[in-house]
Amino acid sequence: MNTNYKRLLTALCLTGAMLFASTSQAAAVGGNAPDFTLKSKDGNNIKLNEYRGDVVMINFWASWCGPCRQEMPALEQLYSKYKDLGFVILGVNLDEDSNKAIAMLDKTSVSFPILFDETKQVSKLYNVSAMPTTFLLDRNGKLRYLHKAYKPGYEHKYAKQIKTLVRE
């Protein structure tokens, strides 16, 4: 009986430790943005840390997600307006079949890099809990803002925050 309790306690502690370990690595506002490398639409690999020094927006999206599609043109506008000030958008696509994303982008084309997270590793790392999910990183690679979902008008908030971050 006694040993059972010990076993139970051990199991509890282990599980707790594992949970703690897995969450401490995950993205949180105020903390450092976890680095990742993903294949881009152009075929080359893109590493987040290579953009250190820029203000980075990471936008998790999918072609099957209505609000994500709605948001795309607004993101493209933000990108073309602020890219000369050291701003970049990384559009992380979460389609299971990336061909669907490519087909969609043929119609609504964007000029910022599109990355494919087919295995969802990066989505897990960033704990994506809504579609779309948008993070804003400052020039030091710190996660500063988090936006869940999208409604028309959110781009004004984004613009304000981008302006703040590029000035820092």
Partner: protein, 75 residues
């Protein structure tokens, strides 16, 4: 038997302790298929409500025809 009791206790303890909670196991980014229009319980509201009307007018059963809202959370 003893192992399963321990396992249950672990699960209960984890749920109750607040150090963890049951996470939604189908993540929002894993809802490609659920978001497909063919997975909608009522793709065409005009059509399904008409058909419900056809049945309701000729059968004694009524209610719980479905489409009470809700769904895949795939926005």
């Amino acid at each position: 038997m003893r192992h399963s009791v321990i396992f249950m206790l672990v699960v209960i303890a984890l749920i109750g302790s607040g150090c963890s909670k049951i996470e939604p196991w189908v993540k929002p980014y894993e809802r490609d298929r659920l978001a497909d229009p063919i997975m909608s319980f009522s793709r065409d509201p005009v059509s399904s409500s008409y058909l419900h009307h056809v049945y309701q007018a000729r059968e004694a059963a009524r209610g719980a025809e479905g489409g009470q809202g809700g769904g895949c959370g795939c926005n």
